[in-house]
């Protein structure tokens, strides 16, 4: 217990790094995911094909492999690279984006066909149908799965700790190595900080899900 209190500054620095990875990785994943999801439902075949390939590619490659590429392989191709933390955020964004895209797409597909049909029958075009009728409904259904994607992202930030970013996991590893007699409190303390993010997010997801279900 004392170890935790003595090193609380280190742990907080690690926690802030984890939060930064989460925020920037999350924003990047949202932007990429939105782009890919739009391509995936668009009427243009080549964009659809690209979006499908992108989703399959990055959903089926382990995050560790992407990190490995960013940190070890990329410098061989281009030595002028930003700091590791930026590379880590990019890796997280790329890895998470297909999951965001799939969540968005399933939300759009989850809107009853009659809604789109009604919109079409009163003469709305593709863009109008999407922005006025389908998306407002899809957004509510999309939020719970999207939160789950971000919970997974929170936990995935720990992989950055294995690739030279000193975030929460790397801090735990260092503290545990330096204080061999207090490994259990250190690891539980660090796990607590992860739960500090993931548990509230999970509760919000559950609440939203309940509210949406009542609405229908």
């Amino acid at each position: 217990m004392n170890v935790l209190i003595e090193n609380i500054d280190l742990i907080l620095v690690g926690f802030l790094t984890t939060l930064r990875l989460l925020v920037f990785g999350g924003i990047g994943a949202m932007v990429l995911g939105l782009l890919v999801a739009t391509m995936r439902i668009s009427p243009v075949a080549s964009l659809r094909g690209f979006a499908t390939a992108y989703t399959e590619l990055f959903r089926n490659i382990p995050l560790t492999l992407i990190f490995f590429f960013m940190v070890f392989v990329l410098p061989l191709i281009n030595p002028k690279l930003p700091p590791y933390e930026v590379l880590a955020a990019v890796a997280l964004a790329v890895y998470t984006s297909p999951f965001v895209a799939e969540a968005l797409r399933s939300g759009i597909n989850g809107v009853p066909v009659g809604q789109a049909e009604a919109a079409r029958s009163i003469g709305l075009a593709f863009g109008q149908t999407l922005t006025l009728i389908v998306l407002p409904q899809a957004v509510r259904m999309v939020i719970p799965p999207l939160i789950n994607v971000f919970i997974a992202l929170t936990k995935n930030t720990s992989v950055a700790g294995g690739f030279f970013v000193v975030e929460l996991f790397a801090t735990a590893q260092r503290l545990a190595n330096n204080n061999g007699n207090a490994v259990i409190p250190i690891l539980i303390g660090v796990a607590f900080f992860y739960l500090l993010i993931t548990v509230p997010l999970g509760l919000i997801a559950g609440q939203v899900e309940k509210r949406v279900r009542v609405a229908r």
Binding site: L63, L65, L76, I151, S158, F169, I184, V199, G202
Partner: protein
């Protein structure tokens, strides 16, 4: 394309088809340009940070190690380690998931509440932290740490999926089981679990792919798996060949995961067709 998506827009007429073709071509050109740039970047000589120039990534000399059977032996060994850990963890996670789902649905709060708390704890922390925990506290080998962490973490997630599946069943299923004289446990095992399992099959298969990918975390805690092979081969042959090894392993992962996903989708469809 599914009927779902086409309801968003008309069957394209000649004008829309022409426009779609134009966007298709423009989009295709942009994407091809992007790809061409990547290939170009790989095909020009590489300049290191100290200004030294080395042959391009696509230069044939960078691919020579792939001609050696020893290299493929190492890669096969790594792939075997990855698949072995994944297989053990998959079986373990499914068994644990059944136990946890039963525990969370138990009549007695003495069982239900602690299991709910433990589940929340395991689902909310990174697998990697769990691996480190097991490695340091139980001082097991890396294989045990990787497998046990994957079992606990994925067992917790799959357990929740199974529980949700059982809760979504018609109440009459359980009542029918009990009324023909099955014990509550046998009702769960014989009536509810199989239905929950088939219903949740898509989610379960998706999670098993996640598990398979997560075995690569073993790289960080020192388990000798597929990604570690890349690092070791690059140490042995030199970083000159690292991209080559990385690409080979990425393709292997991709092939395995696409195959498992595809099998999962097929199984889910077969089950859905049988139930309909």
């Amino acid at each position: 394309m599914t009927a779902q998506a086409t309801v968003l827009y008309d069957a394209p007429g000649p004008k829309a088809r022409a426009r779609s073709r134009v966007i298709s071509v423009v989009g295709g050109v942009v994407l091809a340009g992007l790809l061409a740039w990547v290939v170009y970047r790989l095909a020009i000589p590489q300049v290191a940070a100290n200004g030294a120039e080395t042959p391009p990534i696509l230069d044939p000399t960078r691919w020579t190690p792939l001609a050696e059977p020893q290299v493929w032996m190492q890669i096969a060994k790594g792939a075997g380690a990855t698949l072995g850990a994944a297989a053990v963890a998959m079986v373990g996670a499914l068994l644990l998931a059944v136990l946890l789902a039963f525990g969370r649905l138990a009549a007695s709060p003495l069982i239900r509440v602690p299991i709910a708390i433990v589940l929340e704890f395991f689902r909310g922390m990174p697998v990697l932290l769990m691996m480190l925990f097991i490695l340091l506290v139980a001082s097991t080998g890396a294989f045990v740490a990787v497998v046990v962490a994957l079992i606990v973490y994925n067992g917790a997630i799959l357990g929740e999926a199974l529980r949700a599946g059982m809760l979504s069943l018609n109440k009459g299923q359980r009542e029918a089981g009990l009324s023909i004289g099955l014990t509550p446990i046998r009702t769960r095992m014989l009536i509810e679990l199989p239905q929950a399992f088939t219903q949740m099959l898509p989610i379960i298969m998706a999670q098993l792919v996640v598990l398979l990918k997560d075995t690569s975390l073993g790289y960080i805690v020192g388990y000798y798996e597929l990604l570690r092979t890349v690092k070791n081969l690059s140490t042995f042959f030199g970083n000159y060949y690292m991209f080559t090894f990385w690409l080979v392993v990425a393709v292997i992962y991709l092939a395995i995961n696409v195959l498992v996903s595809w099998l999962g989708r097929r199984a889910a469809r077969a089950v859905a067709a049988k139930r309909a």
